[in-house]
Symmetry: C2
Subunit: 202 residues, 2 copies
């Protein structure tokens, strides 16, 4: 499958590499056409990896991964262009942690709103599926489009090997999955590692 | 030990009964001297159970449990009186879920503040230890007073049988433990039960 990965950070490069290893064609998108990190990643990852602007990557991908930082996500998606997003599944791995006011990070939006909802409101024609891939033993999916969510669940299980994917319902569930970050950050400090997961025990 | 339980709801009566069964003397406090639920609870629970105002219960208890609803907690503690709280350990089991605007509940405060911090700020001389007893397989403790926290950990393990108690640090950790409620409420809807727990897998 052709996949667009938006973002050139650790999350974007890790997921991009994984997707190429799974046999997909991946274009990494960034703010500029000649981003050094994106170019280096594409060169290192082989012929199935390419890079371009956010708009290039969004147009290229049948399925899209938002791996930009949360506070930059809406701007990045605006650069990608609503027309290039329309009708596509967007696995939204961005989180709303805001480090600009120092440590500990706060959430850029919270409680009665979430980043997932903000993206879905701004781009009603993209199928947003907030999926916090790292850091959870159970993975939570949510989103307004049932078919898109089934596809995302298939991607999480089939491509990434997650066994337990819990469907939390519509996009407003992003409030819950984003707000757990405050506990996650605290636990990371307490445990001295990011190598832990949250599991729901029934 | 003499214990004051503030609040007459399900949490207050459940914990009050458990504490009496453990051999403690428990006074349940409420807004009025003759609260029907508190009186019925005391009568049903035997000679070690009594009831009175918030101030009566706070004065009576060497250790206090805040089992009031989160949006009413600061008012309830004001009625209890700062002098009656001074120097005591307050196990704060209240949560900031606000149902007044309909479902789903939102948090009455969030992100850069928490109910636990609000209580600690309002009553600097009480040793606040936010401990969300129900709904978690791992139990999290936090608070500014190290000795009080050790005592709370002992209570959680020795009296209530919790095996894993994770110390998250100072009172600002209440942001994390309170904000996880948004996910918890959502999971309760998805799973159709409140009979699940959050476990940290390392």
């Amino acid at each position: 499958m052709k996949i667009g990965v938006l973002g050139t950070g650790v999350v974007g490069t890790t997921i991009g590499t994984k997707l190429v290893h799974l046999g997909h064609e991946v274009m990494m998108g960034s703010r500029t056409k000649n981003n050094g990190k994106a170019a280096a990643w594409a060169k290192a990852t082989g012929p199935k990896a390419s890079h371009g602007t956010f708009a290039d990557a969004a147009q290229f991908g049948e399925t899209l991964f938002n791996c930009t930082s949360g506070i930059a996500s809406v701007d990045a998606l605006k650069l990608a262009g609503a027309a290039n997003l329309k009708g596509k599944v967007l696995l939204d791995i961005a989180n709303p942690l805001d480090f600009s006011k120092g440590m500990p990070p706060i959430l850029s939006l919270c409680n009665t709103d979430s980043l997932g909802e903000q993206i879905q409101r701004t781009f009603p024609d993209v199928k947003v599926n907030p999926s916090q891939l790292p850091g959870e033993h159970d993975v939570f999916v949510s989103g307004n489009d049932r078919v898109a969510k089934a596809k995302v669940t298939e991607i999480l299980k089939g491509w990434f090997g997650w066994k337990s994917v819990i469907d939390l319902g519509d996009i407003t569930a992003a409030r819950g999955t984003e707000q757990i970050l405050a506990l996650w950050v605290r636990l990371m400090g307490t445990l001295g590692t990011a190598n832990f997961n949250v599991k729901i025990v029934r």
